[in-house]
């Protein structure tokens, strides 16, 4: 099978690249091996919340130039300010059009979200039922917070949220309580309701009468002045429609927090992107995995450069797939995009060069929740300024890396995982288009010579 572009990896970077590639009119395929990190993500888009040196960032746009000067090897510095913000606006627009509005502060500041532990974390774009607290927290306008416990649901602990929130000095004077609500549909189940996961509840809550019953109960425990913190237990193919209904019925201000996996907030993003990709004519090979590829000398290049000729997948063993360009968004260790052996790091599909060859004792910090995060999060594939990876030092010109298989940044400590995924996925397509134009113009030149 022949494509213009093939994207390896079905996470946020892969789908961004896939959608952007389709938009550019290219025949596009995504090869996705199962669930992505979106299944345990906040469903908010982090742009940049901290520098690699641990300083908190209020307004990413305002400090961006200073940041790229100071940290020239960070993926954002390679992508450039204009493309970073262009890509995030583009992402925001397509998701909003598809029914998942992503909202931000008017002044471009980050905002704080309340986490499932009752701590605060900074992010940039959030879904509508995420309450955006200002970065200058003392400017918040909250009067009362009611944290809702769903009876028997063990993957969210309202007491923990409440008891931690009350310790935040800026919430002094805010009444913070938790209360428990039963979901009627639990009683008729064959399963033990105490073992239900968020996605099981989301299935129950697609039923109109369940939504109405829940709305009635919520109205008795909170008023319109309150911020109602609820676990994210709706979605599952329905996007935001269930929450929209709950809101219409109660007029309450909700703040959704993700639960233990699966995170319905992340699943909403993934389902929307898959839907958009298929509707726009993309070919999705779900549940398949790229095993290896043929890499040879790049005939278009005068330098000692390489080109990826074809790739092989587990399911289509004898039928290699070919494309002009490939985007490699295979994820990090958890997704098996990177492999750590006891004596070395490895990229398992193409054996690409890695950004570190240091001993494994350098991969971690003594403390798990160390203030300076974990070094293994910054390990990844080594790339040039166009995000082309290398094989034994030789650049592969038609392969572009995107997302968390890249090295040189810490998606968690810097609060930039989804931002890097979107901007590098988007950026990869820009480069791939340049490659395509370059090839086309070469064809034209040779034609005109005849």
């Amino acid at each position: 099978m022949k494509f213009d572009s093939i994207i390896i990896g079905g996470g946020i970077a892969g789908y961004t690249a896939g959608l952007r590639s389709l938009e550019a009119g290219l025949k596009t395929a995504i090869i996705s091996n199962g669930q992505s990190a979106l299944h345990f993500s906040s469903g908010s888009i982090d742009l940049l919340s901290h520098t690699p040196t641990g300083k908190a960032i209020r307004n990413p746009a305002a400090i961006f130039d200073k940041f790229t000067n100071e940290f020239p090897l960070h993926p954002y510095s390679k992508v450039g300010k204009q493309t970073v913000f262009e890509s995030l606006n583009w992402y925001k627009n397509i998701l909003t059009t598809a029914g998942i509005p992503l909202l931000q502060q008017e002044d471009g500041d980050n905002h704080l979200r309340i986490t499932p532990l009752g701590t605060l974390k900074s992010t940039w774009l959030s879904q509508p039922y995420i309450h955006q607290l200002p970065m200058r927290l003392n400017e918040h306008t909250i009067k009362r917070i009611v944290v809702v416990q769903i009876d028997d649901f063990r993957d969210f602990n309202a007491k923990m949220v409440t008891d931690n929130l009350v310790q935040i000095p800026e919430f002094e004077g805010v009444e913070i309580t938790h209360t428990s609500v039963a979901i009627d549909g639990f009683s008729g189940l064959k399963r033990n309701a105490c073992e239900l996961r968020s996605i099981d509840i989301a299935r129950i809550l697609t039923n109109e009468s369940e939504i109405k019953a829940l709305a009635t109960k919520l109205k008795t425990i909170a008023t319109q002045d309150d911020l109602v913190v609820i676990p994210a237990i709706t979605g599952n193919g329905k996007g935001l429609s269930v929450l929209n209904k709950l809101h219409a019925l109660t007029q309450l201000t909700f703040h959704e927090v993700p639960t233990m996996p699966p995170s319905m907030l992340g699943i909403r993003l993934e389902e929307t992107m898959i839907d958009l990709f298929i509707k726009a004519g993309g070919m999705l090979l779900k549940g398949d995995q790229v095993t290896h590829g043929d890499i040879a000398k790049d005939n278009n290049s005068s330098n000692d450069e390489l080109s990826l000729k074809r790739i092989y997948t587990r399911n289509l063993e004898s039928m290699p797939l070919t494309a002009d360009n490939y985007i490699f968004a295979s994820g990090s260790f958890f997704n098996k995009g990177l492999i750590a052996q006891h004596d070395k790091l490895q990229e398992p599909v193409f054996n690409l060069d890695m950004n570190s060859n240091q001993a494994r004792s350098t991969w971690y910090n003594p403390q798990f929740f160390a203030p300076n995060s974990q070094p293994f999060l910054s390990l990844g594939i080594k790339t040039n300024h166009n995000f082309n990876p290398m094989l034994a030092g030789k650049v592969i010109t038609n392969l572009f890396c995107a997302g968390s298989n890249l090295g040189g940044y810490d998606p968690i400590a810097e609060g930039c995982g989804s931002g890097v995924a979107i901007s590098t996925g988007y950026h990869a397509v820009n480069h791939l288009l340049q490659n395509t134009k370059h090839n086309q113009s070469q064809h034209l030149t040779s034609d005109s010579l005849v």
Binding site: I63, T115, Q167, C194, H342, F368, F369
Partner: protein, 547 residues
């Protein structure tokens, strides 16, 4: 001055390992009142940091006949009194092509003179019994080895002792002894969780603190030389072997592979360490590599099996004349300090092994009972522990998985008291089948104060997910059953992951790294856990990155 809580008892036992808890039970069964103190949880020292091997004694038969005889004697007793802590798996001593096959006969003869049954097997017979054993073996000897769950053994000792009036004080540390002339009459102590100080007055104080016993002796101005020898082990995700596998040669590094519930363990290395390092054991890359390499010789499948974590313990050897950690007899050292040093009211029970803990307790309690004028005979070798008393009819009863797992862990009597409601029966830890009811029981009845204690009592979080999801669910149960605030339960969660991290760091590659990345994404990326440590601090402008 604040009033200091004062306890009075006949015997104060310091150290809640296998020896200390066995003494506690022995005293209680003889009607001697006692209080047991441990600076941490029960079984949190060396007791919980070894193979969990029910030795037949065969390992020591050639080099240390006395230990071998003690082992086989206790082996038989434990099978009777602690059947719920034991899997009677049998063990193989295999001879590989590079080993001397002649050693087999020496080994079998030595076993015979120690009273250990052996059965010589052909390579094929060994493979039929244990398909994962190295197929290149040239011979094997079957012995009555098994597995012994040290956590369960200690918990049962405590449970039985408490039901006979004994008292347990965990997270309680001795700060100094109270003396009148040449007699110790008690100890000043502190609760390390609440910082509350208290005093225990006792007629006899027993130092059963294992390797930490040297420090305890220091408090009494006595000198005992101990030789800390670190032994490291690796835990594998699956149960690879059903029989214990040993090498049929003189004891060496990494030559015992033990099955334990759903996992297998390879160990140990042996390395002398400084006494000052006994509380901060580090497992080196080299040790991990040795364990993987040598373990692969016992069962080649280890090379493809995921490593869950590593851990290390310190052998509590008493230095009675130098040598490296392995050549010293693991003999029992009972010191009557009145006789030895002229200090009355104080004894130390040192050395020994998990296998001989009951025997050590019997010897110590005999000594103490004599001093107290108590003539009751020891009965710990005759009376089964609470979890071992089972009726016959239950064996045929159809039970759910959680009940089955919990019955193994706590015995039938305890499980019958678990909350049987839908909520009580719901599963919290899917890897080890731990229910809400079992956790409630552990928190309320088994002195569980945090998630690490809970892991030791129930195995929650010991399985392949290493507690990633279930500990969050379990942490909320500390609010329900342990009077914890939400803040405290989130601290428990973080404490659990920090503790777990110690064992994961040495093996942070392959799937262990994948799992750690997932845990970090979830708890730090999604949940913002590290901010718990800064809760209560106001935002500061200086922390911001501005132009």
């Amino acid at each position: 001055m604040a009033k200091v809580t004062r306890f009075n008892t006949e015997v104060l036992i310091i150290g809640g390992g296998a020896t200390g808890t066995s003494i506690m039970r022995d005293c209680a069964l003889r009607g001697i009142t006692c209080i047991l103190l441990d600076k941490g949880d029960i079984a949190s020292g060396t007791t919980g940091r070894n193979h969990g091997l029910l030795h037949s004694g065969a390992r020591y038969a050639v080099t240390d006949g006395e230990s071998a005889r003690e082992c086989i004697q206790e082996n038989k007793i434990l099978k009777h009194i602690a059947s719920h802590c034991i899997e009677d798996t049998s063990g193989l001593f295999i001879t590989l092509p590079e080993d001397d096959l002649d050693f087999q006969s020496t080994f079998i003869d030595a076993c015979a003179s120690a009273g250990i049954d052996t059965q010589r097997l052909t390579a094929q017979q060994a493979l039929d019994l244990e398909p994962n054993v190295n197929p290149s073996l040239i011979g094997a000897v079957k012995v009555p080895d098994g597995t012994l769950d040290p956590f369960r053994l200690c918990a049962s000792n405590v449970l039985d002792a408490k039901s006979h009036g004994a008292q347990l004080l965990t997270y309680s540390m001795v700060q100094s002894f109270i003396r009148i002339g040449d007699r110790i009459i008690g100890a000043k102590c502190i609760n390390t969780r609440t910082n509350e100080q208290f005093e225990v007055y006792a007629q006899e104080v027993i130092n059963a603190a294992g390797i930490w016993g040297k420090n305890i002796c220091h408090y009494a101005d006595l000198n005992v030389q101990m030789l800390p020898a670190k032994g490291s082990l690796l835990v594998f995700e699956h149960r690879i072997n059903d029989l214990v596998i040993n090498r049929c040669r003189k004891p060496a590094d990494a030559d015992i592979l033990v099955p334990g519930d759903s996992i297998s363990l390879i160990g140990t290395t042996s390395e002398e360490i400084d006494y000052k390092d006994i509380d901060s054991l580090k497992i080196s890359e080299k040790e991990v590599n040795i364990l993987i390499e040598e373990g692969g010789k016992l069962a080649p499948i280890l090379a493809q099996t995921r490593i869950l974590r590593a851990y290390a313990g310190v052998r509590p050897l008493v230095d009675i004349g130098g040598g490296d950690g392995r050549n010293i007899s693991r003999g029992i050292v009972l010191l009557d300090h009145e006789q030895r040093d002229g200090l009355a009211g104080f004894s130390s029970i040192l050395g020994g092994k998990l296998m001989t803990s009951r025997l050590m307790a019997e010897m110590t309690t005999d000594l103490i009972a004599n001093k107290l004028g108590n003539a009751t005979q020891c009965s710990t070798h005759l009376k089964p522990l609470p979890g071992s008393i089972t009726s016959n009819k239950s064996k045929t009863k159809k039970t759910v998985f959680t009940t089955k797992a919990a019955t193994h862990r706590h015995g039938e009597t305890a499980v019958a008291t678990f909350d049987q409601s839908t909520k009580g029966k719901s599963i919290v830890c899917e890897c080890e089948m731990v229910s809400v009811g079992e956790i409630e029981y552990a928190i309320k009845q088994l002195d569980v104060t945090n998630l690490v204690d809970l892991r030791r009592r129930t195995r929650l979080g010991m399985g392949s997910c290493q507690g990633e999801l279930c500990t969050y669910r379990a942490s909320s149960l500390f609010c329900d059953f342990g009077n914890c605030s939400g803040y405290e339960s989130s601290k428990l969660l973080m404490q659990f992951f920090e503790e777990r991290w110690k064992g994961i760091k040495p093996v942070l590659f392959g799937d262990a790294l994948r799992e750690a990345e997932f845990t970090y994404w979830l708890y730090e990326g999604l949940f913002g856990a590290s901010a718990i440590n800064q809760l209560g601090e106001k935002q500061q402008d200086k922390d911001y990155y501005e132009i």
